[in-house]
Each structure stands twice: as C-alpha cells, then as structure tokens.
Symmetry: C2
C-alpha cells in the first residue's frame, strides 16, 4: 500500500459519459481520486444532461479542451470510434499522461488507438468488467465497479510506474485488478460476455419472429427463463455492435464450439439420451456455486427478485 | 367472485414436496385453501426434512394414504414418473376429486397420466410458470406464484365446475390463470422456458470445456453476462432432463429456428454487417420493456443486484 496525500490524479478526462463514464465519475468522487473531472461527449443532449447531473466538474464540447493538462485520459465511447477519438485528441495529450480505455475488446483497441499515441504518453488499455442493461449518463452509479474485476492489458515495455498508478486508480474505484495479454483477454471475454450476449440477443430475436406464438404470450410466460435473456438483450445496441465487429475472431471461435455442443444436445434430445442430458445439467450446477463463492453473484434464489424469500 | 365459507378443498394431496410442492403447501396455508395438506415423497431424507419444516399437516410414505379422501391431488414430481405415480394412486382416488399436476410439459402428461384416471375423477393438467434455481423442500416459499401465470390445459369435455374450482385455487395461491390447448402450451413453453434453459446449460458446458481459458477465469470474469446463464443452468437436473425428453418435438422445432438465426448472426459478424446487428439489438431492447410493463420482471438494473442503485 502506498500512502497518498491528495488525489491520485490532478485532472481526469472522461471521453464519453454514458453508463461507464458516468459511473467512473461517481466512483472517482467517492474515492477522491482526482482534483478535477472533465467530461466530453459529442451529443449535445447527453452533454446537457451530464451537466445537469453534475458528476463532472466541467463538461466540454471540444475533446481537446477536455484532455488538456489531464494526467489521466479515459476513452469511454463505444469502441468503434476509439481510433477517431484518439487521433483527434493526440495533439492535446500531456507528456507523462496515462491514456486508457474501458472497451470490451482489447486487440482492436491496441490496433486502432496505438498508432495515434504520442511519444511520452503512457497508453495502457483497460476493461472494467461491470455494467448493467441501462445506458446513458443517468444510468451511472458509484458502486458499479465494487468487487468486479478490471483487466489491464499493458503493451510490452509499458512503464511500470504508470501501470501501478492505473491499478491504484481502479482499486480506488472499488475494482480488483488483473493484468492480461490483449489476445487472451479477448478470448476470455468472448466466452464470459460476448457470446452470452449474442445468444441472448438471438433467442429474443427468434421469439419475436415466431408465427405460432404471439408476442403477448412470450411476454406473459417469460418467467419460465426467457425474461433473464431479455435483460442482457436490452444492453446498448451501439456498444454491442462494435464489440462483435471488433472481436470477430474470438467470438467466431467460441460460437463454433457453442454450436457444436448445441448440436450434440439436440441429438441427445432427438434420440432420448437422458443420461447425457442429466450429466451435463449436473456439471453446470457446480459452476454456479463457484461464481457465488467467488463473490461474483448473489446466492439468493432468482437473483433475489422474489418478494420475500431471502 | 364466489363467496366462500371455509376452505376451498377439504384435503389436498401433494405428491412430491420439492420447490413447487413445498411452495404450494406454503401458499395453500397462506390462502387458507385447504383444511388438510397431505404430502408424499419416495425419498426418506426429503420426507424427514419436509416433516421437520412442517408445511404439510401429514407426510406419508405410502402415496395411497396421501391421496385417500383428497378432493385435490397434485402431481409435483419430475414429469418422467407421472405415469407410474398416476397408476399407483388410481385405486385410491376419490370420485369427484380433481387430479392435476405442475409439469412443465402438457402433451406428454395427457399421454402418460390420462389412461390411468378413473371414471368420475376430474383430470385437469396444469403448469404454474414459476420457479427458482433452487430445489428441495427448503427452497419452497409462499410467494413463488404471486403475479405469475398458471396455465391449465383441460381436455375436451372437461367438467366446467371442476376447472373453475382449480382456477380459484391457483388464484388463491397468488397466480393469474390462463387456459390453453396442451400442444400450444408446449410450443409456447419451448420458446419462453425450455430452449432458454437448454442454451444456458449449453453455454455453461462450452465454457467448462475450453482448453485456452481456465475455469478460474470463467468464474472471475463472469459478471460480463455469463453469470446470468449459470443461474438458469443451476436448475434441477432431473426435472429438466424429463422436460427435454417429454417435449422433444416443440424443443427441436424452436431449436432449429434458434440455430438458423444464430447462423445468420454469425455470418453478419464474419462479414462485418454492423447494420444488421444494430437493428436486431435495437428490436430486442423493446421486448425487455414489454416484460417489465407486464409485471413479469423488475426494472431495476442488473435485476437489482447492485448494492445501492435503485
């Protein structure tokens, strides 16, 4: 533990103030991690709303103003525009500043942002693995990162002191921190996040397209399991489009395995192979237990949604 | 509304006292729907535990004793043994009694139970669409059915008074009631429950089998979406094996559509068709809103799992 006097950063610039950017601002304030938080977003509506909520000390139309003199700059937009944003802000980045991001993919971020980073700026890609199905500045809250993992993927030769400082920052936001290779990150997230989102979007789409079952029936009887998928399938469309377009290789790899496994289950159902089904269903139950033991989900039945049951 | 003096049934027999049977007992007590609740289960351990909790007035090793003189008999075991149970209890069923069940499939229940029902007994298949990932007598709670739908699938020519009485019973347990054809029920549930469970079991299985990503990584980073699937994939293995073996036709039909749709998404990712992805992801968001508006799920972010965010 280092003893700190005063905030960790003089000025943090958040480029993008949706769910993640806004939550970071709240968490930075809660942890007194920066003397000044500057925010930027292209959207006038979002900028106005963020100003009203007031989680940033200053909101800027011009991203160059937001990042000027900042010692921590965080890309919080959908990953599809990271390259453009990085190119735009590059001339105003302060030597010695840390440039990081919160994108759900990392190889593509290194590819798109890396070339624009000026000498003397420490580019350390990152990904806080936390979120909700809500989006926009009103969705942000200080506790979003509490107990969740943040993965940093520093490039070979990255400045160790800068990496440590960014680790300290995320811990101050409530996160636990892990360092990983970008390519490995993308594969891990493909299975723990990207493909689960894709199949959730897909089943909700399939349900919407049925001729024999009405939309009203799907809604009414959704408590049988379907409703859980709709939460995930309510996540931000722009963000998720960009994730899939930018983690193609890993997503297709995991999706291939998922489909193979599903074909095997399909065959087991067709041929009445009950033992095979029972064995799988028993094995998967243990994974749930591990996630609860690791503090990554609640043990309460139905995620605690039942009126009175603890 | 009928005005009732005294309980709706003199004696209710619950054959099976796991999550659903136990919850029914609690709900029956809460609503004063029966003067006596008799329970049966084959398992000595479960029988002992159910007796300790005490939600039934009497627990029986012999199912014939449990159903004797009962005017409502409910099959609450996994559907795979319904036929055997029905054949066993048939001689002790009281004329005029209602025989129902809580199975997640209905065509197979009509097929397996129907032939054993004595003349004068009203067989009305049913399915309360409610549950949690927990199982066993300790998992039961009175509020499980509150606001959820219960589907009854009476056969052609069913006694209308008996159907009304069963409807009143389920409303007394907190449910809303819908009447449906068994075959249609099975198709609706295939999309709203069975296939969602199957793909949840499947993705958790796929994640367990990866060589390049450790189990520990899957657990740690599960907050990205995966953890939601593990809840569903922690459901009772016996119950779910029996569901898939007994709703084969509808599950395979929906699964075929799901796989077709997933192939289309896979292709869109491979070819970088962002607009197609964005359009689907926008459409699915609206389904979530409808489910919340219909009172079938919470509007709170992350199902309300976040520490402080409302």
């Amino acid at each position: 533990m280092t003893t700190r006097t005063g905030p960790l950063f003089t000025k943090v610039a958040l480029l993008g103030v949706g769910l993640i950017g806004a939550s970071m601002a709240h968490a930075i304030r809660r942890g007194s991690l920066a003397a000044h938080i500057a925010g930027h977003t292209r959207s006038p509506v979002t900028r106005k709303r963020a100003s009203e909520i007031g989680f940033c000390h200053s909101m800027h139309e011009d991203p160059l103003e937001a990042v000027r003199d900042a010692d921590l700059v965080v890309l919080c937009t959908p990953v599809g525009v990271f390259g453009d944003v990085a190119r735009t802000i590059a001339p105003a980045l302060k030597p010695g500043a840390i440039l990081t991001d919160v994108g759900s993919v990392k190889t593509a971020v290194v590819r798109d942002v890396g070339p624009h980073v000026p000498d003397g700026v420490h580019f350390i890609p990152g990904h806080p693995i936390a979120g909700t199905e809500h989006s926009g500045p009103d969705a942000g809250f200080a506790e979003l990162f509490d107990g969740r993992w943040c993965v940093l993927t520093p490039l070979p030769g990255a400045d160790e002191a800068a990496v440590e400082r960014l680790k300290t920052f995320w811990k101050g936001c409530g996160s636990r921190v892990e360092v990983m290779d970008p390519k490995h990150h993308d594969l891990v997230l493909a299975i723990t996040s990207h493909v689960p989102h894709l199949i959730a979007y897909n089943i909700v789409g399939t349900a919407s397209d049925l001729e024999q079952v009405t939309q009203s029936e799907v809604i009414k009887f959704s408590a049988g399991g379907f409703r859980d998928f709709t939460r995930i399938a309510a996540s931000d469309p722009t963000m998720w489009r960009d994730v899939f377009l930018n983690n193609r290789e890993a997503v297709l790899e995991i999706l291939g395995r998922f489909s193979e496994d599903l074909s095997r289950l399909q065959r087991a159902i067709r041929w009445g192979e009950g033992d095979m089904l029972f064995d799988l269903f028993t094995r998967t139950r243990a994974v749930r237990r591990s996630i609860i033991d690791a503090g990554q989900d609640t043990a309460a039945a139905n995620f605690g949604r039942n009126p009175k049951k603890p």
